[in-house]
Symmetry: C2
Subunit: 336 residues, 2 copies
DNA sequence: CAAGATTGTGCAAACGTTTGCATTCTTTTT
DNA sequence: AAAAAGAATGCAAACGTTTGCACAATCTTG
């Protein structure tokens, strides 16, 4: 009733040694089929669950993947998590999830803590960590997969959206729709994805023969509030210089922009076109439905797990870059 | 470089026994201040992290809270998770999170698996589990906190939104705004919160002297799609019998309804008033902004952890019921 | 100054597994 | 029929901690 049954209890009942039980439950061919089945029956009977602590202690690692993320409430993160959970569950792995609130120091602390739990590997989402941190990574002997962060090192792998391409794709779409004055609402400062999307935006402009204008970069941090503020930035631009379109770092800030536009009586897409990035689930219900770049977030999560498992199995692992797709909805209007 | 340092390594360097190291790091007054500091210095030097596996093995439990949730992508869940993470991190606990996809069998499987990890306690969100399951609960000797599920048993505690009250509050608001024909868009069938919100809806109607009409219950499951369908249900009602307001089980389906209404040219709130439940972050940016009942989700998460910790510390724990607040925005219109 | 109390430290067992090696028993081979 | 090989199982060590108990050294106390 109270104490969980151990391998010894099963051994006693079956009249064999603990080692035999261990081997039987591991389906080792070294133990006869008959005893194997008998032991399995007893184990089921007792509702035996192996002590992961003991197993982890002797094996030196546990069937747990450590996951580190800057936040848990962002829908983009939630979607990646969903992919992580699906793939890791199928592989018999659990996940220990830690949030850093964007604090690099805490990120290091979390890595330590997770290693203390003998995690088999680490998956780190949108790392904000600095160089000091790279030294630590070199010390770690479990494989690490970075999602949308781009790090290098021994046993360090990457799964990422090709953000530069995505930024280019979004901007190019706006150009093709006839927009000539396109602003970019930036994301969090140190983020790699932010830098890459901005670079894609710039390249698209230059491909089209336009020069990059710093004036058209609106500071932001990917939050709803940043989107709201961006609309006011737009309203404050002299009429003649107002961009006809804004490409937002992510959907969340694009949605904030949309909402504020509605409240301020600015019609989207008639007065202003808005482009997002991510294609999080809620974009489908925004008004107007948001044109955006699909980032295959769930897939990103599944692939991160797959890469980690391959690394654990000593299979070759290569960095993966996923290109997003344009999702055309109704927040961008063609102009002449 | 490769192998993590153990307590023995520290002992060797410090020239003391492993037991002393263990006690020193635990700040035991049984070891002199001098050695304590010396040992701590060496531990820092080596970047020592204790093996949770070993600790968990000998102590019989680990500083991990097992969390079970039907899904990870729902914003309501994400918000509860945020509260969980915050509170548990502050208390030095990690979280092992498992998702069930609403499958009761899998819920049991997950409980087993988490117990295998020696979790100190369990927090179970929106459990869909049945009676067969209650037998299992009685067997478990770690404390369990159910969030929005209502179970009873030894060492079983509840933290929940008072959904009946919330349903009553929402419906009463609609009645006060002059609505006389109010439909209810239901949530997932077996859910307790669904049942309770529906009961509150009914009580409010009866308080106002109206009779409950089964005809006005729209089947649903809390998804965006269910919201969309609900609008078509509404469109298909004979003009004279069309409800003037719909109270939705949750914000997600309310948002779906809003989106479909926009696409079908139905003006909210002019032609139809819509009420949500949860007050998830995105409701603030819906168009029109959604009137809803705030469910204090993050707080729910924090309180769940607090209850669990109290139970672990053998402090008295009582079930907690949180009443939501009405958030009046613009999706409900007064009619005469 | 002897006896007792106090302080600081070490020994060794225990937690529940896995696994290399040894052992026993049965079968095959020569 | 003896020797070798194979099959099934057991023994015991190891993983890295915590902790009750024993021990030694120092300090009080009468």
């Amino acid at each position: 009733m109270s104490q969980r049954p151990s391998i010894k209890d099963i051994a006693r009942i079956a009249g064999v040694s603990p080692s035999t039980v261990s081997r039987a439950l591991a389906e080792s061919p070294r133990v006869s089929l008959a005893t194997r089945e008998r032991i399995r029956a007893i184990a089921d009977e007792l509702a035996y669950t192996p002590s992961q602590a003991a197993r982890s202690l002797v094996m030196g690692s546990s069937p747990i993947i450590g996951v580190i993320s800057p936040t848990l409430s962002d829908p983009y993160i939630a979607s990646v998590m969903k992919g992580l959970e699906e793939a890791s569950h199928n592989a018999g792995y659990q996940r220990l999830v830690a949030s850093t609130r964007g604090d690099a120091a805490r990120e290091i602390e979390m890595v330590r803590m997770l290693l203390g739990h003998n995690v088999g590997g680490l998956i780190i989402l949108s790392s904000r960590a600095q160089d000091a941190y790279r030294a630590l990574l070199a010390q770690i002997d479990v494989p690490i997969v970075f999602v949308n962060s781009l790090h290098t090192g021994p046993r360090v792998y990457n799964v990422a959206t090709d953000n530069e391409y995505g930024g280019w794709l979004a901007t190019t779409h706006l150009l093709q729709q006839g927009h000539r004055c396109i602003a970019y609402l930036a994301g969090p400062n140190q983020g790699r994805s932010q830098t890459a999307r901005a670079a894609g935006y710039r390249r698209a402009l230059e491909d089209a023969g336009q020069s990059f204008r710093q004036r058209l970069i609106i500071p932001g941090d990917g939050s709803i509030r940043a989107g709201r503020k961006a609309l006011h930035w737009w309203l404050n631009q002299p009429q003649a210089e107002r961009p006809t379109a804004i490409f937002c770092y992510n959907d969340l800030s694009a949605l904030g922009l949309l909402s504020e536009a509605y409240q301020q009586g600015v019609s989207v897409p008639d007065a202003l076109s808005v482009m997002g990035f991510d294609n999080v689930p809620v974009t489908e219900i925004s008004i107007p439905p948001l044109t955006t770049v699909e980032q295959h977030t769930e897939k990103l999560g599944r692939l991160a797990v797959a890469s980690l498992l391959n690394a654990l199995a000593d299979k070759p692992v290569t960095d993966i870059f996923l290109r997003g797709d344009l999702i055309v909805r109704a927040s961008v209007k063609a102009i002449s």
